[in-house]
């Protein structure tokens, strides 16, 4: 009996990725078991699934035999509070990480998302302004390569330049380079106080906050077609800064975020827009003009636009605006029936090198085939 025979069960009705049904599902419970499974499934095309909160992101797989589910690969292995680090298995729900005593993994992710999935999708939220993203907070990683080899990079210390920083390469790789089984994260202390300042104000007013001395932890904009745009600022630490920001923006202080805070905008199409900071107002205006609801970080230049309806013209419009802003427009998700006709990733610099990286890690292209930029 191979690990595949041991672990794989017939896929159910819900075991579908981007409209493509899987034949089998397997849920290994350890890195070693995962390695044996992957080695035993050498002729199968594989997609990895964590909490499933972002399983619809990316292009559909060209082919799908086996879903490797990380739901049994869970648990906080170590929380070294004095060193401000934690070691967790990839399938650990973010809820467990949100509950670490006195400390936090400062990644905004839904409670049911997994640590590994958050890394693999390079998801980020409002607090990226202060704490950075998964690529900044991940300091060590264990991955099972498509050939079944268990491999580690980084370690358990924040400051480390020994060898290539492969954690960054795996971050945002959408499961195309292997199965992440364990992550080591840098933690931050939970701040003593946190206040939200919410105001009806144009996205351009974000620049006044950035140029000030407010040390905002997050600076979010929210714009809905036909309504006044809003801005909200998260301030952690001393209370006086929130009063100053409220005064500056003519806003209100609360210890609760606005309802749209960190929430993916509604719609059947979701586009991630990036641009330089000075172009955020123009990006928001273009997206709202195209009928999209926009939420995102004016402090970091990362926005999410959601809308319903035919995406073709609007994606082109948003992409042109993002390029003008020095950034990119990536369609994270769209209805199954239009995905094939949509350039979801758009132009990506360095694609030839990326293909060579994929060829090295996964010569048979069986991990998440076609899910990634450039058809990788």
């Amino acid at each position: 009996m191979s690990a595949l025979d041991d672990l794989a069960v017939k896929a159910g009705d819900d075991d579908v990725v981007g409209g493509v049904p899987a034949r089998l599902v397997a849920a290994p419970a350890s890195t070693e078991e995962a390695a044996a499974l992957i080695a035993a499934s050498a002729d199968l095309n594989v997609v990895i699934r964590g909490g499933g909160t972002k399983i619809e992101w990316g292009t559909p797989p060209r082919d799908l035999d086996l879903i490797i589910d990380t739901r049994r690969l869970t648990g906080v292995v170590e929380h070294a509070a004095g060193d401000l680090i934690t070691v967790v298995r990839a399938g650990t729900p973010m809820a467990e990480l949100h509950a670490l005593p006195g400390q936090q993994l400062a990644l905004d992710a839904p409670a049911t998302a997994t640590a590994g999935g958050t890394v693999a999708a390079n998801a980020s939220g409002p607090r990226r302004l202060r704490y950075g993203t998964a690529r900044d907070l991940l300091i060590g990683i264990t991955v099972v390569r498509p050939d079944g080899t268990i491999t580690k990079a980084g370690g358990k210390v924040v400051k480390n330049v020994a060898g290539y920083d492969l954690g960054k390469l795996y971050t945002g790789s959408f499961g195309t380079l292997g199965l992440i089984t364990e992550c080591v994260f840098r933690l931050h202390p939970v701040p003593a106080t946190a206040f939200f300042v919410r105001a009806a104000a144009p996205p351009g007013s974000a620049a006044r906050i950035l140029a000030g001395q407010f040390a905002a932890s997050a600076l979010e904009v929210h714009a809905v077609p036909g309504a006044d745009p809003e801005i909200a600022v998260l301030l952690e630490g001393a209370a006086d800064r929130s009063a100053e920001v409220a005064h500056l923006l003519d806003g209100e202080v609360s210890d609760e975020p606005p309802p749209w805070w960190g929430v993916t905008p509604p719609g059947t199409v979701l586009v991630k827009l990036t641009g330089v900071l000075s172009q955020v107002p123009a990006l928001v205006a273009t997206a709202v003009g195209a009928g999209a609801t926009v939420t995102g970080s004016a402090g970091a230049g990362v926005l999410y636009a959601g809308f319903t309806g035919d995406p073709h013209g609007r994606v082109e419009l948003l992409r042109a605006a993002a390029v003008r802003a020095g950034g990119h427009a990536v369609v994270l998700t769209a209805p199954d029936d239009v995905r094939d006709t949509l350039d979801m990733w758009g132009p990506v610099p360095g694609l030839a090198l990326m293909r060579r990286v994929k060829d090295q890690f996964d010569p048979a292209h069986r991990f998440a085939p076609g899910r990634f930029a450039g058809g990788i």
Binding site: V161, K168, H188, G346, P349
Partner: protein, 482 residues
């Protein structure tokens, strides 16, 4: 005609004779970087005057299968820019233009030869600075910082080069110019930018660097605390972190490094201190004041017998001068020394420092400790006299034992200086064959012919294209490959 002579002729024709050095005396200028006990005279030096010069030189090297090594200011401490005897050294230090300064976008675009501190100087009038600050920031280049993923005293709060670079133009080892990342964050596709930063010149040469600019803090407060011992200073460090304070920097110096700094720059640190801590906080005034009070109290509770607070920028500079000059200062109390760069989890500081002293004692050498306590990045200076037979070997043994201690406690063999040629042999102590092989997969994607800075980072060169399980030992151009 020798292959290198042919190459020299081609390079002279393409990028100008004045930029191609072959005179042995001139070449000797480049025989080492900041780690002077490794010396190799390159076969050829190219003084690049533009990105196109770099690309031309790399393309010619690729065509002739000649290895190349990039070099910025040459301040590296792991031999990362050590030349290859049969190769071309491509010097980027003349590429010194700040191409674009965009405070409104919190970005600057600079050429690789721009000096680290120059970025801050250019951004400061606009209210911004460039946060990564290696101790050599007055002379080290941004290109070198990118190659080594340089750190500095303020990494604890602000992160390393990799957290502050959003875009690169890179000459890949085949001579192709490739853009990685950009002005905006989260460029789609694999994070090749993240893999490139810190790859020590083995994946190509950066020719343009887009960096983040950080808002100047409203205020900076700097404290010097003197303790009887490193144990007490370590306890203060832990207490500060445990209290939820993230200082901009926490630096520690032990008695021997204080002695060295005193004799060199007369920094007037408190007499009789077994250790000093430098703690710096920055940010909004009210927050810094509140935290500064807490830090002061925690230092006192941990046994600080003297506290000094910098009243102005001049006093702050004085506090930092001892720390920043410590490496050079050690030359005053010892004819030779090895700087180590291991990292340990912060909580292991007391036990590891004790063990370092024990190991040093067993081998009859002295070790001065000056380091980034906040993030556990040790810089033990292993002192020796090369003129005394056997002492260099003993120092080397202590140096290696310190790295083993770091690995044993879950740390790393290098926190900011890089692996280079100096620590390549220690890589297998930290990483398994599979781990190294995986890194090598990236190397093969970028540089299948192993021409970019060969002999660095990896302990043994490998042949690209062979799959695991099909490897065999073979001799290939005089190096063992498998």
């Amino acid at each position: 005609m020798m292959a290198i002579d042919v190459l020299a002729a081609r390079l002279r024709a393409r990028i100008g004779a004045e930029r191609v050095l072959t005179d042995r005396q001139q070449l000797r200028t480049y025989e080492c970087d900041g780690l002077a006990h490794y010396k190799v005279i390159p076969a050829l030096v190219v003084l690049a005057g533009s990105e196109e010069d770099v690309a031309t030189a790399v393309r010619e090297c690729a065509a002739a299968k000649v290895p190349f090594v990039a070099r910025g200011s040459g301040t590296g401490l792991s031999g990362g820019a050590l030349p290859h005897a049969d190769g071309v050294l491509i010097v980027t230090s003349q590429l010194r233009e700040i191409i674009d300064l965009r405070p409104e976008d919190e970005r600057a675009v600079v050429q690789p030869g721009v000096i680290n501190l120059q970025v801050t100087k250019a951004a400061t009038p606009h209210g911004y600075y460039y946060a990564p600050d290696p101790s050599s920031q007055q002379i080290c280049s941004i290109g070198g910082n990118v190659a080594e993923n340089s750190g500095g005293a303020h990494c604890l709060k602000y992160g390393f080069t990799t957290n502050h670079v959003t875009g690169l133009r890179v000459v890949a080892p085949d001579g192709e110019v490739v853009r990685l990342g950009g002005m905006a964050p989260d460029t789609p596709g694999y994070d090749l930018l993240g893999a490139f930063v810190g790859s020590e010149g083995t994946l190509g040469i950066a020719t343009e660097v887009t960096v983040k600019l950080t808002r100047l803090p409203e205020t900076v407060r700097t404290l010097l605390a003197a303790f009887d011992s490193t144990d007490h200073a370590g306890a203060a460090t832990s207490a500060i972190i445990a209290a939820g304070v993230v200082p901009a920097a926490i630096e520690m110096m032990d008695a021997l490094s204080i002695e060295a700094a005193e004799s060199a720059v007369h920094c007037n640190y408190p007499a009789g201190a077994g250790a000093v801590l430098i703690v710096e906080l920055d940010g909004p005034v009210t927050e810094v004041e509140a935290q500064f009070g807490a830090v002061t109290r925690l230092c006192e509770e941990a046994g600080a017998f003297e506290l000094r607070v910098a009243a102005d920028d001049q006093e702050r500079q004085l506090i930092w001068r001892g720390r920043k000059s410590a490496f050079a200062a050690v030359g005053r109390i010892s004819p030779d020394y090895i700087v180590q760069d291991g990292v340990i989890p912060r909580t292991a500081l007391p036990v590891v420092l004790r063990r370092i002293n024990e190991v040093a004692g067993e081998h009859g050498v002295r070790v001065a400790n000056v380091f980034h306590a906040g993030d556990g990045n040790l810089h033990p200076l292993v002192l020796f006299d090369d003129a005394v037979p056997g002492e260099a070997e003993r120092a080397e043994a202590v140096s290696g034992a310190i790295l083993d201690l770091c690995i044993e406690h879950g740390g790393s063999i290098t926190g900011e200086h890089g692996v280079g040629v100096d620590k390549a042999r220690y890589m297998p102590r930290m990483f398994s064959d599979a781990d190294l092989e995986t890194m090598h997969l990236v190397r093969c994607a970028f540089d299948p012919d192993n021409l970019a800075n060969p002999g660095k980072v990896f302990p043994t060169p490998r042949l690209c294209g062979e799959r695991p399980g099909s490897r065999k030992h073979a001799a290939f151009d005089g190096v063992e490959v498998f």
